[in-house]
Symmetry: C2
Subunit: 363 residues, 2 copies
Amino acid sequence: MARVTIQDVAQAANVSPSSVSNFLNDRQDRMVAATRDRIEAAIAELGYRPNRAARQLRNGKSQTVGLVVPSVGNPFWGAFAHEVEIAALALGCSVLLCNSERDPDRERRYVEELWEDGVRSIILCTSLPSLDHVSHVISEGLRLVTFDRPAQPHDPESVVSISVDNNVGGHVATTHLLELGHTNIAFVSGSIRSVNRSARYRGYCDAIEAAGLNVADMPHWAGLEADQFGDVEASELGRAAALELFADRATAPTAVVAINDMTALGFCRGLRDMGLKVGQDVSVIGFDDIILADLYDPPLTTVRQPITRMAQLAVSEAVERGSSESTDPGSSVLLRPELVVRESTALYANTISDSFLHVPATP
Amino acid sequence: MARVTIQDVAQAANVSPSSVSNFLNDRQDRMVAATRDRIEAAIAELGYRPNRAARQLRNGKSQTVGLVVPSVGNPFWGAFAHEVEIAALALGCSVLLCNSERDPDRERRYVEELWEDGVRSIILCTSLPSLDHVSHVISEGLRLVTFDRPAQPHDPESVVSISVDNNVGGHVATTHLLELGHTNIAFVSGSIRSVNRSARYRGYCDAIEAAGLNVADMPHWAGLEADQFGDVEASELGRAAALELFADRATAPTAVVAINDMTALGFCRGLRDMGLKVGQDVSVIGFDDIILADLYDPPLTTVRQPITRMAQLAVSEAVERGSSESTDPGSSVLLRPELVVRESTALYANTISDSFLHVPATP
DNA sequence: TTGAAAGCGATACCAT
DNA sequence: ATGGTATCGCTTTCAA
């Protein structure tokens, strides 16, 4: 049961390997129908499958798309990776999984390594302001799609960006809280040195100012600058933020915009540590809409990213760039996020409960 | 900046390509020290990296380990995939990600495809009782490691299984509830036609019987047989189970053993839909200890799987089978799970709350 | 101890 | 419209 090669097919179909190769590579136009049929039949009968390694050796390209995420251990990235794999499969591609842990150096090494191994399509989930660390590979022809990172002025021209409109997202989230009557709304995030985070932050600021409030008056979480937490630990970060922000209850916010759901969930956990009730004492809104947002108690209000659609776009841009379907190179797609109201946010009027300690009350 | 080949290195080191190849493949023993040093220097200087495709074409093997999980969208599998990637990286391997969606046919197709693409090491996360659908590939030499599925009598000899001891896990979980004084303990799961699930179920049954109770008296979730839910939807399943089990409060359990954390979380959500309080009206215990277990409100009591260790074992068995480090082929490693007590389980005595109905309870 | 040379399987150029 | 063939980079006998 030796491997079936292109030679075998050629022989069985009474043609040359060249013709079979032409057939395989969609050049059936220069081929008489009868020939094509014979080849097709031979392939089917022998159960022929082209050898990827040989193909790749020959033309230096592979049928693999590299996926670099911060960490698939994070439910958001896990869900995204899932969607990417589905989309890739539909296009006959495999997905090589890489976890950068948000380390720029690991990002670079992965991208270089993938490139040297013949991978020509990479979906890079990064939020670094600059793509300098991988630009040399891009200039050699890598089809890079960045995800969750809108295009930046100095990006190499050929890069396509797929992202949710984080600015709008931050705005929508904040506006929701404002409309509920909150006026002391905190923003909680890790380092906002990343472009998507700062966009969300900008949306938050705009909404606050538009409401006639002053951003400077709002409590932000001190950890904004530091970044001792990685990506899996987003929840830890949220939890720490809650403890800090509510240490002094006189200045504590009544509502919180969290940078993402994991952070929001961690924040809720922290609130609970302090004996506060989410959606009652404090309103919390997240970002992403991971599966667990709906499962949480109380179910988390959040801003949904359409990851299925985004994954499809990312994959098709990465593997079929240049085909009719594709966007103009250098352009970015900014999908609109959607507010999903659940129970972790509530009217400010209802916020003032016994357990909340602006009103000094202790059992 | 053309590619550096083995020829270039050979030339630079004044040796033949063969020698460089020998050097690269750990056959430095048959080589004079001076030669080795020259080769080493040349490689370093030229920044040579062997071409995977060529290597693979030549010996039909790749440096890639295939990872087939039900769905990385599920936080448990996402976390596992993360650990696998880390472990593989340490061994110089890449991870090709495949989602089977628990479909035996997809499992088979993926395994076959990986094999034909030169992947010789696969970690298959399946829970099918039989490996018949992939045995033909195993007999050709595939190094298959099954995860989350202890070895079965009819498995091909060369398969290594890495799994938690599900029997013990189910037992530990159930015993915990019994010790809290519960006597009406439900078991909630999807189809238990899978070997790990049935093992957990067996552990549950054993513990129940050992306590002098009768399994037949315990409410199981009716959905045991059906399986309309896939893996991502484990939480949906748990939620549905809660609604059904608590429809008739007279027979409703006071404690629940869920097949895994996602199901447990869904169950908690369902309980909440019915106005019941987890850890108060009802005790719930999960399995896995995903990150979100600790984040939940109340934090979920669960049985932890040591996934970091398990991933390391799985990868090393898959890629270095036969080396000194490895287990005997055909054997299985059953790691001991660990009970993690949090707040979703409580003493039966405390269970009787106003919102809970069917008292009169007799201690 | 080292080297020469024959492929692994597919492709694309150049003939026919 | 089809076929012959050199080639991609590496490994592995087999000879020296």
